[in-house]
Each structure stands twice: as structure tokens, then as C-alpha cells.
């Protein structure tokens, strides 16, 4: 069904990346210690970066590591350490009564649906791979220029809306988190 044949190297890279992604993702859910979970998350992000490199999207791979692994997960860890939520025993009472089976069913259905969709139809773009037959859409620094042009022309409104959304989120977080010092001092 898939018309493109892959070299052994490409398959090895894909399998490695996929393993990193999957093991990391399962680790995030399965591990009890929040710091270990954050580290599994980093593993997943690295796997995704490897997959990006394999598709010749070097810029995306670098940004993936810089932004997600280098900043966002560090912030997660910062919060975990700052609040000291680590090493506290998890909830011993089962918080979910009957939902687990239903959730499993839902996950199964979703995954099956995705597999069927991906296998049956040329979903989304029609192309099976971004780098069609080993020839990438843009090589080298070219994909930075291409990405920049796309973001600042075709998708300008979406880009600006996302930026505005982030600013709103930051302002909202500050407003919610700011405690009234006046009241604290009255109480003291």
C-alpha cells in the first residue's frame, strides 16, 4: 500500500524516535514521582526532535528542544521543587470509581479510528511523508526562511492571535495569583 521504500538507516532512526516518544509518554503516566515524570516528558520531546530531524525539519527540531525541553519543562521542575510536591505519597484512595474501563474503551476507539483513517485514506495532505521520497520540502537554512514566510504572511492572524492569547493568559495568571497583602497584614 505504501509506495515508498525506506532505507535501513531511515527505519532505524524512526524506530529509535518512536521508542523514545512512546516510552517517555508511558513514563509520564506510569511514574509516581513528579520529577521522574518530568524527565520522561523530556525524553518524549527529544524523540519528537529526532523525528523532526529525520524529516529534515532541523529548525523545528532545534526549537522543540530550546522551547519545550529547555524552558517549559524546566518551569515544571521549578514549580515542583518550589512547592515541594515531590515525594509526597500519591492519593491512596481510588479517586475514579468506574471511569477507568470507559476511559480505556475511549482510548482504544480513538487509536483504532486514527489507524484506520491513516491507513485507508491519504488523510490531511495526501502525502505519506513530509520528505517525499527522501527529498525534503526545503533544505538547510531554507526551512527557516520558508517557515518565517509562512508564519508572517499566510498565518499572520493566527500567529498574532496566539501571541495575544499568551499575553492574556499571563495577565490572568497574575491577577488570579496576586494575594491581597492588606488583608494578610490585618490578620496578622
Amino acid at each position: 500500500m505504501i509506495g515508498v521504500s525506506y532505507s535501513i538507516g531511515a527505519v532505524l532512526v524512526f524506530v529509535t524516535a518512536a521508542l523514545l516518544i512512546l516510552v517517555g509518554a508511558v513514563g509520564v503516566l506510569a511514574v509516581r514521582n513528579p520529577v521522574h515524570a518530568a524527565m520522561s516528558l523530556i525524553m518524549t520531546l527529544f524523540g519528537v526532535a529526532v523525528a523532526f530531524v529525520a524529516q529534515s525539519a532541523d529548525f523545528l527540531a532545534a526549537v522543540q528542544v530550546i522551547v519545550y525541553a529547555g524552558a517549559i519543562v524546566v518551569l515544571f521542575l521549578f514549580v515542583i521543587m518550589f512547592l515541594g510536591v515531590d515525594r509526597r505519597e500519591g492519593v491512596r484512595v481510588e479517586p475514579l470509581v468506574g471511569q477507568r474501563a470507559l476511559a480505556g474503551l475511549g482510548v482504544g476507539l480513538t487509536v483504532a479510528g486514527l489507524i484506520v483513517l491513516l491507513a485507508r485514506s491519504h488523510w490531511v495532505s495526501g502525502a505519506m511523508s513530509v520528505s517525499t521520497n527522501g527529498a525534503p520540502l526545503a533544505t538547510g537554512s531554507g526551512n527557516v526562511a520558508q517557515l518565517g514566510t509562512a508564519v508572517f504572511t499566510t498565518y499572520l492572524y493566527a500567529f498574532e492571535a496566539t501571541a495575544a492569547l499568551l499575553v492574556i493568559a499571563v495577565v490572568g495568571a497574575i491577577v488570579l495569583a496576586r494575594r491581597e497583602r492588606a488583608l494578610d497584614e490585618e490578620a496578622a
Binding site: 514521582n33 521522574h36 532545534a62 530550546i66 529547555g70 524546566v74 518551569l75 533544505t139
Partner: protein
């Protein structure tokens, strides 16, 4: 990825594999030896500045002192605190070490050689993501410090790792923005292109071409990323014992030590690459030896910056933690944003450049006024802004909750 380096232009033969392998091993060995020399150099230079003698027993001028220390460290007992997280405690030193190695791979050390008909760049790798690799690796090196402090299961290392994460994230923004300016001027991310664009004369060096400001921002930010003095709040001896590596001993401590000095060398090399033309410099017309001079230039410039770091350590007192944050967020980030606008404007046309300069100046005035108002504001109960809307929790409920906490 592969097509970029000219060594692959004749395909992947045995000779090419050998060249790549030799290049890798040589870079690795040179870097490790450079670390040994750097540690000796730092100790000797600091001693001179403090009117001491420094290491002198082992080898001529005490040159072998580092090796003696290394052997001593390896044979010491390897301790692990009872409260430590065993896996992370073992992993953390390597997370600190590896980014230093990988970053050095993208530094162009010299020009292009021809070995057995193959054009060989004196640079381990030239990936298309180029200088972004250095940013990614500096992002990863945060984990080494952070996880080491956390995994020790001890109070001071934990404080140190919290400080480290906040400091490194804060300065990464200014670091990234000053790199963006270089990328804008060069028009490419690759370190080879960055160096090539600075090759013709000192006026093309980025330090002059961009105005000195980006270089100053980069130097400050990279010093903070390295946790070197005066930004060593992470391992402030007088406050935190040894900082994040208080609980480490033996070989793992040696790895942290190695990582610190290796990162210093690598970052000196990166500064030279980005702002001082890398191996660019005057080459005398000597037959068969022309290729040596770029390497010598590169080494000389890198040594100058390595010395500058030692000098900082001897000359500057440590910042307070709030001063570190102030400098990062309130000074460096706005300054680099403004300068970025001006650089981008001048790249389009002179009139745009002056327009952007005016805009940056206006923004700077506004920001200064805001800081003035902020610092002049009354502190205490009256200083709190009026309540805007209902809180998620009523104040009474909130107070009850916190009171319970205090009793318990």
C-alpha cells in the same frame, strides 16, 4: 543534513569515514586537554592576582597538578546521601558534561584543508540548525545543575538548583535575542557561514558591525548561563556550602568540575566564533603553513576570553540574587529587544534604522519612567492595588485555610 559539509562531496568512502573519525577524536582530545590546562591556568592566574604562588609541586610550573587532583578524586570514596534519588543522582553529572562537548562540535577551529583530495573543514559538524544547537544545549545543561541539586535530597543543594533554574531561564532570553541579531546580519544559522561572513577585515567582525552592545549582552548572559562569577549565586560558598554539588564526591564531583571548565572553554570559543570572526586574522605568506595561522588566531582569541573569565572571578564581587534577576529581566531583555529593532531597521534601509532607533529610544524613556514609578511606590498595606473583582476564594475562607496550616 549531510550535503552541507564538503567532505561528503565525493560520497562516503573509507577515507571520508576515517577523516570524520579522526576529526572527532582530535576535537575530543584537544578539548579534554584544554580543560586540564584551563584548570591550571585559572589557578595560576588567580593566585597571581591574589599574590599567592598557586600550584607548583607537580611538573614544571605545577602543570600536572590537575592530573594529580583527578587521580585523587577518582580514588576517593563515592558517597551517596541516604535521601538521594539514586537514578537522578547518577544521571545529573553527565547531563552537565555532555552539552559542553556537543556545543564545541559546531565551533569552526580553522579554515578548510585538503586531505587526500577531500576538502575538510576544521569543524566537527556543521548542522543546518547551526548556532541553535548551542542554545538547545545550554537549555539542556540547566538540567544537570537542577537535577543534581534536587536529587541530593538536601536543603542547600535544593535552594541552589532552584536559583540555577531561575537564573538560566532568565538569561536565555537575552542570549537568544543577541544571537538573533547575528543571524539577521549573516542570513544563515550555520556557524561556518557566520565565520565566513566575518572573514574580510576587522570591520566585518560582528562585534563592530552590530555595535558593541550585542556583544556586551551576550557576554553577560553567557557568564550567567555558565554560573561563573560574578553570577555564581548558584554555588555561593558563603551561603550554600558548595551549591548543587555539595553532596557529590569522588568521580561524580570530578565530572561536575570538568563540565564547568569545559563549558567555560566552549563558551569562550562560541564568543570568538560569533563576534570576533573565529579563525579570521592576518595570515603571512608562508608556503605549506598557511593553514596553521587561522588555528593560532582562534586559539589566541579563545585564550583571551578564557583569561577574561578568570579576571572577572578575581575582580568582581558576587551579585545578590535579586540583582541578578533585575539585571536579566529589567535591563538586558529590554535592551536587546530595542537593539534588535534598530539592527533590523538598518538592514532594510538607513531611514528605517533611524526610525527604529527613535522608537527604541521612546520605549526606553517609557520603561525608565515605569521603573521610576515602580520603585518610588509606597510599600506596605497602602501600596496594594485596589481589588478588581471577586477572588476565586473569599478572603475569610482563604484566611481560615492558611490559619489551619499554621496550627498544623
Amino acid at each position: 543534513m549531510i550535503g552541507v559539509d564538503p567532505v561528503y562531496s565525493h560520497g562516503l568512502g573509507l577515507a571520508v569515514w576515517l577523516i570524520i573519525l579522526i576529526r572527532l577524536v582530535v576535537a575530543f582530545a584537544v578539548l579534554l586537554n584544554a580543560v586540564i590546562l584551563m584548570i591550571w591556568f585559572e589557578r595560576k592566574a588567580i593566585s597571581d592576582m591574589q599574590s599567592r604562588i598557586g600550584p607548583q609541586r607537580w611538573g614544571p610550573f605545577g602543570l600536572l597538578q590537575t592530573i594529580a587532583d583527578g587521580i585523587k578524586l577518582i580514588f576517593k570514596e563515592d558517597l551517596m546521601p541516604a535521601e538521594a534519588d539514586r537514578l537522578v543522582f547518577r544521571l545529573a553529572p553527565f547531563l552537565a558534561l555532555i552539552p559542553g562537548f556537543i556545543t564545541f562540535a559546531i565551533v569552526p577551529v580553522g579554515g578548510t584543508l585538503t586531505i587526500a583530495g577531500h576538502p575538510v573543514r576544521l569543524q566537527v559538524a556543521d548542522p543546518p540548525m547551526g548556532i541553535l544547537l548551542m542554545l538547545a544545549m545550554s537549555g539542556i545543561s540547566v538540567y544537570g545543575v537542577m537535577l543534581a541539586g534536587w536529587a541530593s535530597g538536601s536543603k542547600y543543594p535544593l535552594i541552589s538548583s532552584v536559583r540555577a533554574s531561575a537564573q538560566m531561564i532568565s538569561y536565555e532570553a537575552a542570549l537568544g535575542l543577541s544571537i538573533v541579531m547575528i543571524v539577521l546580519v549573516t542570513g544563515s544559522l550555520s556557524t561556518h557561514d557566520i565565520v565566513a561572513s566575518q572573514a574580510h577585515g576587522i570591520w566585518n567582525w560582528n562585534v563592530i558591525r552590530l555595535g558593541v552592545v550585542p556583544f556586551v549582552i551576550f557576554l553577560i548572559a553567557i557568564t550567567a548561563e555558565l554560573n561563573r562569577p560574578p553570577f555564581d549565586v548558584v554555588e555561593a560558598e558563603s551561603e550554600l556550602v558548595g551549591g548543587f554539588h555539595t553532596e557529590y564526591s569522588s568521580f561524580r564531583f570530578a565530572i561536575f568540575y570538568l563540565a564547568e571548565f569545559m563549558n567555560t572553554i566552549t563558551m569562550s570559543a562560541i564568543i570568538v566564533t560569533l563576534f570576533f570572526g573565529g579563525p579570521a586574522g592576518w595570515v603571512p605568506n608562508v608556503a605549506h603553513l598557511r593553514w596553521v595561522f587561522p588555528i593560532l588566531w582562534f586559539l589566541a582569541k579563545t585564550t583571551a576570553f578564557a583569561f577574561a573569565y578568570i579576571w572577572f572571578r578575581a575582580a568582581l564581587p558576587r551579585f545578590r540574587y535579586d540583582q541578578v534577576m533585575d539585571l536579566g529581566w529589567k535591563r538586558l531583555i529590554p535592551l536587546s529587544l530595542g537593539w534588535l529593532l534598530v539592527v533590523a531597521g538598518f538592514l532594510i534601509s538607513v531611514s528605517w534604522g533611524f526610525g527604529m532607533a527613535a522608537l527604541a529610544l521612546f520605549a526606553w524613556t517609557l520603561l525608565t519612567r515605569a521603573f521610576e514609578l515602580g520603585s518610588g511606590r509606597e510599600r506596605g498595606a497602602e501600596a496594594v492595588l485596589p481589588v478588581i473583582g471577586p477572588r476565586p476564594l473569599a478572603p475569610e475562607a482563604l484566611r481560615e485555610l492558611t490559619d489551619e496550616d499554621e496550627e498544623a
